[in-house]
């Protein structure tokens, strides 16, 4: 899930975009399923806008039910939840620290926000990774709004053309921003797509169209 490293947006926009996820080291996968269950249960208690697991999909998908997903989880599954404010994230982190699951947990989002969560939960961040942006043939990249949405699923499952189509459908009022955001979110298998942020971006597109 390196993907979440390169989410694009202004600091203000990123304040509403935090992903928390598990990652189980290869040698420690056996026996980890109950811990991942507990991770998801704690996250779900706080109303994430997206939640799921990379091999089973996200709750945005038509055939995925949260309870079924938890039951089907296997050892080592990478699981994630998306929150839209740091205060809620902090409560999640505090609960996870208290649960002492013993599995690796990462936050992807504003470093200051994650640092604040660690401080308030009485832990110290261990390691950190940052992006230096996109290099190479950047002339092949699309417009800013498309990049901001496509990077919400870092595996690149939300195509540029689908995003443009959703923008067009929102402008035509064939879809609401919320419905369009959910359709795009279905493409993201790891449940890290922030539908709330995508909806905000589509609302701006709609406003610009009206302007």
């Amino acid at each position: 899930m390196t993907n979440t490293l390169h989410r694009k947006g202004s600091v203000e926009e990123l304040k509403g975009d935090y992903v928390i996820f598990t990652s189980i080291a290869k040698d420690y996968k056996p026996g980890s399923a109950p811990k991942i269950h507990e991770f998801l249960r704690i996250c779900n208690k706080y109303g994430p806008v997206n939640i799921g697991s990379s091999k089973l999909g996200s709750v945005l998908q038509d055939d995925v039910d949260f309870n079924d997903l938890v039951i089907k989880l296997k050892d080592g599954s990478t699981s994630a939840a998306v929150f839209t404010d740091v205060d809620t994230l902090q409560k999640v982190v505090s609960d996870l620290v208290e649960a002492d699951l013993g599995i690796s947990i990462n936050i992807s989002g504003l470093l200051e926000g994650a640092h604040e969560c660690c401080g308030k939960s009485g832990i110290q961040r261990h390691s950190l990774e940052q992006s230096l942006g996109f290099w190479g043939a950047k002339d092949r990249l699309p417009e800013r709004e498309v990049i901001e949405i496509t990077t919400l699923c870092g595996h690149g499952m939300v195509s540029f053309n689908l995003i443009r189509k959703m923008m067009e459908y929102v402008r035509m009022r064939r879809l609401t921003p919320k419905k369009a955001a959910t359709i795009m979110g279905k493409c993201c298998e790891c449940a890290v797509f922030n539908t709330d942020r995508a909806e905000r971006i589509l609302e701006k597109v709609l406003e610009q169209g009206e302007g």
Partner: protein
Amino acid sequence: MDIDKNRCVGCGNCHAICTMEAISLDLDGKSVVNQDECVECSTCHRVLRDEGYAPALVGSIRSILSAFSLQFMAEVDVCPTNALVPPELEYPRSLRAEFSDPTVVHAGTGVGGRGTEEIKTNEVTGRLRTGEAGIVIELGRPGIGAHFRDVEKVATSLIHLDPHFEANNPVTQLMENPRTGKMKEEVLGEKVLSAIIEIKTTLDKIPDYLSTLESVQAEIDTVFAVGVGSKCNPDSSVPHQKWVEDAGYTLTPNGKTNLGLGRPLFQEKGQ
């Protein structure tokens, strides 16, 4: 991905959802996949719900509507006739799915997604230790895709820095020789959604790596995303930030934070 032309009704929903713009309308009015461009991510097959309609029924309804100059606009996230068929993939084409479909686990690393652990489990693995930095170069990202020949071009450009390519990384495992950065000949023409070169080095070498990447970027016909990571100092400060910023590069305000909750904790010698 394959499309069963006996079932496809040419609705075009799979065209927009395709991550590589590899699906288009053929002369016969049915959709067709450009197999050179398809990276076997299976997004079309996973996301488009099968409505289970008989192709003849859909075709008849369309013909009738067309006679009255009307058009039926299907929902955008369906394949009305279940025409998308995931093929059995053989090596080396199977690498496309391994590097592009997050539900496929990399055989060599046992990790899904792009197959890397990086700092995500660092408190347990000790992959990056005090004084060390991790550099990740994800070719093809976002949304353009990359051939392994692009990967090789970047990897070989770094050889003068004597890089330590991470052994538990699927790109390293496809190298003919990690000392040269050369990829296996048979994989060079394979296209994937993205592939991550992962290097471990020392903090003081970060500027050299970044300036080399800056030089090679003009030779690459795709984009790549660069990331740098390190183990935090005991006071929570971040060692790589000074080295990157002093070299004149800008780090994003967001990133990944490993909370250090995994157990057993890796203990460095002397700590």
